[in-house]
Point group: C2
Chain length 236, copies 2
């Protein structure tokens, strides 16, 4: 937790109040906050501030804002991922948020186990988004969309997201083109499931405007490939 994220309603009075049990306990136990300490605070979907702790009571931790701070910019990137195992999903959401992805799409695919769509984590995505934002020092949640049918998404939704200055790259082994580096424009990145997209899916993606690109001859897990690709694409 590198900032404390507050709901706008918690910052309406002159003194702001941190009341969420998770945040209060973390600040008391791990950070050992004291009256007079400064604390970085973000307002959800809003600005970021350096604040000072005015009092610590049974109702929470009371703050006054000192000065505005910069909210880190996002990468102009849409991440489309074949729905991963629940444990991986949690990390993937947190990491994608921390790294500044603008939009996340979870997509069904042939090799995705249908049970993955039943995970209770899907009801808790907002919690993992919050953790990712608090890690990064960001305040703006990415958009998250779910598409449980591959073909209608790829044929009817995806093409309208692709343009010459916002291409879509499918990570795919065994192709000659390589994933670009240090790009100066936005893009969509498409990551398959464990075991990869099936040939029919790759063909349909390419037919609908995507470029299949390789990341070299190492096979990298979904949750690892996302920071690896983002570091590579936005390295300028």
């Amino acid at each position: 937790m590198n900032i404390v994220l507050l709901d706008p309603r918690q910052t309406e009075s002159e003194l702001w109040n941190i009341s969420a049990k998770r945040q209060v306990e973390h600040l008391k136990t791990h950070v050992d906050v004291q009256v007079g300490d400064t604390l970085k605070v973000g307002i959800r979907e809003g600005k970021r501030y350096l604040t000072q702790i005015v009092s610590i009571t049974d109702n929470g931790i009371q703050l006054k804002p000192l000065q505005e701070e910069e909210v880190p910019a996002k990468h102009p990137v849409t991440l489309i991922v074949a729905m991963p195992r629940p444990k991986v999903l949690r990390r993937l959401i947190m990491d994608a948020v921390t790294l500044g992805v603008e939009k996340i799409i979870l997509l069904h695919s042939y090799r995705v186990d249908k049970s993955y769509w039943q995970t209770p984590f899907l009801q808790q995505l907002d919690h993992y988004v919050t953790l990712g934002l608090e890690q990064a020092g960001d305040t703006i949640a990415p958009k998250i969309e779910l598409y449980k049918r591959f073909k209608p998404f790829v044929e009817d939704v995806l093409p309208s997201m692709i343009s010459s200055d916002y291409p879509a790259y499918v990570a795919h082994p065994y192709v000659e083109d390589v994933m670009p580096t240090g790009i100066q424009h936005g893009c969509t990145i498409i990551i398959g499931p464990e075991g990869g997209f099936i040939p029919y899916e790759v063909d349909l993606l390419i037919k609908n405007g995507c470029q299949a690109v390789s990341l070299g001859n190492r096979i990298i897990r979904t949750e690892t490939v996302i920071p690896y690709v983002l570091g590579r694409l936005f390295s300028c």
Copy 2:
């Protein structure tokens, strides 16, 4: 598991034998292997082969090699990481191995909890190295070294690892220089603990030849920053 890693002793006779319970169970349960299937196999510290399954018995799975395959090249990089929490350590080792890091050094630092050095995971590093190699399709384990004292390592060991074509970069927020991109030479990457190196440690690293470089204004977790930095550095 994208290849099955065998000990050289398992490949001495004409037919090779997969006997490790973990590997046999994975291949039977998840891959549902059958006699006649081809299987990618690596010999630890050796070559990689496409093989064919000749028989499946109570003793394991018997193979014959068909043809040699390419072992993926490593990145010329040494990763020095402040000893992380045990759970993070496990992932970090697997990811660093999967991504092709040549050498990993685990280092003590002021903000590292001393108890981390007692974790049983340290006795199982070789297992996580194996999992990382099997994920990547690699056969060569990176060197792993442990240094439980920060100052003697930084003053007596680190300087001899640094040269003009093998610089050392400390990831550090709030500095003006940024982490380079698309480098064509080897390097050492130094990643601090949760909460970062203390100023004394950063100063000592710089005094002994390291360059402090920033990764931007998002604060990224240790296990996420490693693939992010590797993607960025070796993006050419």
